[in-house]
Amino acid sequence: MNCEEINLWLDTLLAEIEEIEVTRKSERRVRVDVPASSLPALLELLKGKASYVHLSAISCVDWPDDEEFELVYHCWSYEAKSLLSAHTRIPRNSAQEFAHYVSVYDIYKPAAFFERDIYEMYGIYFESSPYMEKFILTEWNGPPPMRKDFDAEQYVNDTFNWADYHPQWLQELEEDGGGIAVRPEDIRL
């Protein structure tokens, strides 16, 4: 079976599944929009039957206006030579501390790495993922910093001091009516 045949077969198969929306972006890229409840089943199918053995990344997008997180699972197939990205959306749970989703560690082992990262950066708790401890931000005690509602600029201004820099040459320029048009502190505030 060559790679075109596999792709044709996969398109036919995916078209038969209800609830999911398949868009073939190009010869080697497929986008699948899938409800959160059936994403693990889709990945199981893709890995077990359609040669998508390599989960190359899980990425996360925050949509604060829709109150949703978008999770994108990027799966590679070496036989079909194509990348399938499975998009799903989960509720953001702004009121609670964490959003919740289910881990796909039992299907793809590398998922543990990505899920731990997303938990740290976005605060999405993955049920049954093996390690959910701190990963990169070991010194961090604040809210998940990649969320859109985390104001990094506000945090920086609250936490750190700025060095005062007003040298002689700048004072001379200012006396002549010149100087910096928009001062850095004006941009910050």
Binding site: T138, E139, A163, R188
Partner: protein
């Protein structure tokens, strides 16, 4: 020898020492110090890429007597070459405290001066001299090797003229530096180096060595124990 002890040197306050050769000897020591410096480059950011040309055959820092050194315990200069994330800052402070006095810190790139292009980042420390006493800043994004060498020469001049005293400031105002460190790392922050003991050893403790932050340190301080050696087969 041990029975003799220290020989007291009687000098009146505000007057120079009576030995006419003492000043000469100090100047000689300062001259020698400034011409033989071992540099530990803690390559945290992009500025590190300017150091290989500065050190090697093109700009040849060694003609000034500056050589790279691999361990903090045998180095004079700590080069911090770029943004320092909060996580890295801990390691930079541990490295700095392991160095032997006199020791000098050079902050390279705009990031160490005032956050640089990462000023908005939640993860980077902004002003390095709040946490460590910095002798010379070399601004630029990134500074060229010429600028790095110019900064080195400034440091050499400072040492030669007896002005390179920033390392003493760390002992004299330890409470200030420790307070800033605790602000970022939390109250249980503790390094394996006994800075107050060292300050006493060098005779550099002042009123500002102690304060509210050193008291917090004493409350949380845990006695240091050597790592247990374990050999696994």
């Amino acid at each position: 020898m041990s029975k003799i002890g220290n020989i007291p040197v009687n000098a009146q306050a505000g007057k120079k020492r009576t030995n006419p050769l003492a000043g000469v000897f100090d100047e000689l020591v300062q001259f020698c110090q400034s011409r033989s410096m071992f540099m530990l480059h803690y390559c945290t950011g992009c500025g590190a890429i300017e150091l290989p040309p500065a050190m090697t055959s093109r700009f040849d820092m060694e003609r000034l007597g500056i050589q790279p050194m691999v361990t903090p315990r045998q180095a004079d200069i700590l080069l911090v070459t770029g943004y320092v994330s909060v996580k890295t800052l801990k390691r930079v402070i541990l490295t700095y405290e392991q160095m032997q006095s006199p020791k000098y810190v050079i902050g390279i790139c705009s990031c160490t001066v005032n956050g640089g292009m990462y000023w908005q980042s939640y993860a980077t420390a902004k002003v390095l001299n709040e946490y460590l006493p910095v002798d010379v800043y070399i601004a630029g994004c990134m500074p060229r090797p010429e600028a790095v060498i110019e900064g080195m020469r400034r440091l050499m001049r400072n040492i030669e003229e007896g002005k390179g005293h920033a390392w003493k400031d760390y002992f004299q105002r330890y409470d200030y530096y420790l307070g800033n460190q605790q602000h970022l790392f939390g109250d249980d922050w503790q390094t394996p180096t006994d800075i107050i003991g060292e300050a006493r050893h060098y005779g550099l403790e002042t009123e500002q060595t102690y304060g509210e932050h050193t008291r917090i340190l004493e409350q949380h301080q845990q006695p240091l124990e050597p790592h247990k050696m374990r050999i696994k087969f």
